[in-house]
């Protein structure tokens, strides 16, 4: 029942699905996590790419589409106690170390 042109169409849609998935889940577009220390960007990557970013005084963890600070060497520990951020525009700020973690 399927003809040659049908196979081409199915292949084209599949390719589109795979490429858009690769783009969406590799940090190519959409929500990205930016970590700045002392006004310098030290890390940018997709919100959906799990990893741990170690800085001089803080450790930032990106996990399952949420970001939190797991460790900080400062006294107040405000950034560590901050609940994980998941949405565009949210940020965690560590004033003593001048670290800003943002979802853009």
């Amino acid at each position: 029942m399927l003809r040659k042109g049908d196979i081409v169409i199915i292949a084209a849609v599949l390719v589109l699905a795979v490429f858009s998935a690769a783009f969406a889940f590799s940090g190519g577009g959409g929500e990205t996590v930016t970590v700045k220390a002392d006004n310098e960007t030290v890390y940018t990557g997709s919100l959906y790419y799990d990893r741990t970013v170690k800085l001089a005084g803080n450790t930032v963890v990106i996990e399952n589409g949420s970001v939190y600070v797991s460790d900080a060497d400062c006294k107040n520990q405000i950034c560590v106690n901050h609940s994980p951020i998941t949405k565009k525009g949210e940020s965690i700020i560590c004033l003593p170390n001048k670290v800003i973690v943002e979802i853009e």
């Binding site: 029942m1 169409i9 849609v13 699905a17 969406a24």
Partner: protein
Amino acid sequence: MAKKITLYALFAALAMIFGYIESLYSLSFIAPGIKLGLANSIVLLLLCGGDFKGALAVNTVRIILSALLFSTPFTLLFSLTAGIGSTVIMRLLSGRESVSVIGFSIAGAAAHNLLQLCVASAVFGSAVWYYTPFLMISALISGGVIGALSAVIVKKIKTNRYF
């Protein structure tokens, strides 16, 4: 002419009922906006008969009336763009010998979803493009199912000399 208009009216009514039945069994829990596209089988049927004008007319009437009855003018923007765009895409492919109804049904479904994403990204911002992979896989499945269904219907109905 009168027979044709009556037939179009019947098709438009049937397509609206399909759309209504679909809205009762929403698949949106999988991903926002995912649906089977039962109403598209009517458009496919008309395109198989080589009646592009009829397909476009029935689809446009269905979309406008459904929006008036069941949804808001805001969603009309989405459905009208996608509905007309996908009908044109399917028309371009339906004339080809190498493409069966399953093929242009899938192409139409993919075009429909992509056009809705275009409108959505203009309204809500580019974050909506994250849905592209889900919507493409959904187009493949729903377009394939509706295309196969239409192939069966076309086979049965052709002997009745409607087209």
